[in-house]
Amino acid sequence: MWVWFHKLGSPPYFYRLSSRLLPWLAVATLISFVVGTIWGLFYAPSDYQQADTSRIMYIHVPAAMFSMSIYMVIAAAGAVTLIWRIKLADLVAAASAPIGASYTFIALITGSLWGRTMWGDTYWEWTDPRLMSELILFFLYLGYMALNAAFEDRRRAARAAAVLALVGVVNIPIIHYSVEWWTSLHQGSTTRGMQFAATIYPSMRYPLYLMMLAFAFFYAQLMFKNTRCLLLESERNNSWVKEMVTQHDAA
């Protein structure tokens, strides 16, 4: 197990592993997105109160879920960067940030469109704690990327950004539990643990699962691609990159 982790931390190994994984991830993303979208938008039953607007759920819920998960990936990778100084962890964090910011943005936009039809005549409700904390999460992503870009020295950027990411983790439980701690317009969580089976009917639950998988695969795919680019850039003077490039030219 530990040997595998050490191997994973080595750039050439990671590069080779990811080039083998990427095609599979691409296929998985494509299938789950296409099937999930068609199932969710056309075949799943519409909600008896919300009619067809409830179908926004198939985009909104996975995007919001992974906007938080990706932040936790960044924070965990940041902790690894600070403690063990593994360069690859920092690259994974840096590669994840723009994707996480996009997911957060998607969650905010779809949520606002959904809220417009369901909560009445408003796109945005300033008093709602979940909306506020998700917006703060978006700002945190932007700040993280800005700090990452501000340093010329990549290593120092990595460690400074890691500290910021860890400080921002305070916000994650606030988003997650905001719907339970404060009375808010946003509905409570339906997707947790055993309740999930009871609160949402299978015909709507399975396409939702599928869309969650699709968002996860899509994130993994983009993350690997971004990380590979960053890896080549930061390792461009190392022998394995040069060997690979010359081999590629020869072939």
Binding site: L142, A150, A160, L164, V167
Partner: protein
Amino acid sequence: MRHALFTLLKRDLLLAFRQPSELINPLIFFLIVVSLFPMGLKPETPFLPMMGAAVIWVAALLASMLSLDSMFRADMEDGSLEQILLSPWPLPLLALTKILAHWLISGIPLVVMAPLLGLMFNLPAEGISALVVTLLLGTPVLSLIGAIGVALTVSLRRGGVLLSLLVLPLYIPVLIFGAGSVWDASLGLSIRGPVLFMGAILVLALTLAPLAVAGALRISLE
């Protein structure tokens, strides 16, 4: 060790008082920003007391952020920050001392000036006392969180705008509870809940922020 911390506090305060303009400029900024809003609105509108709480709080955030850069920048430039890092005393405590000095210099004057500005906005007496209480609990949090941002950006030549990007999102909870309780108090409601929340935020920041500042300073100076 108490001696070392006390010396550091005295040194920071002395440095600040030797350059009174650095001390006073953020306060003037606070005053000007707060008075810009009534000028932008029609002064006879009924919105004024409603906006007062938010405007004063936002101006306090900005003023406290403006003075943040002085916390470590000068020490970084003349090398004394490196000496502080090399000293045998625990760095988080030294950082906390510097943050305390910053709060005494920038936070306390804001708290003292706030009632006057509250009167300018026609806040009722309950609102003004709530303003003072929440600022008293909130401004140390601003200094503590801000210190993390400064410590991260102190090695960059131009940290100004970046600092605000990092620090302002983290200020939002303080703003929400602070301005919210002033507004509640003006309506005659109890503000126990939000004030307790701000106390909790203060305790959290007081315990964890110095550690983050120490880590960030080590990264900035390596």
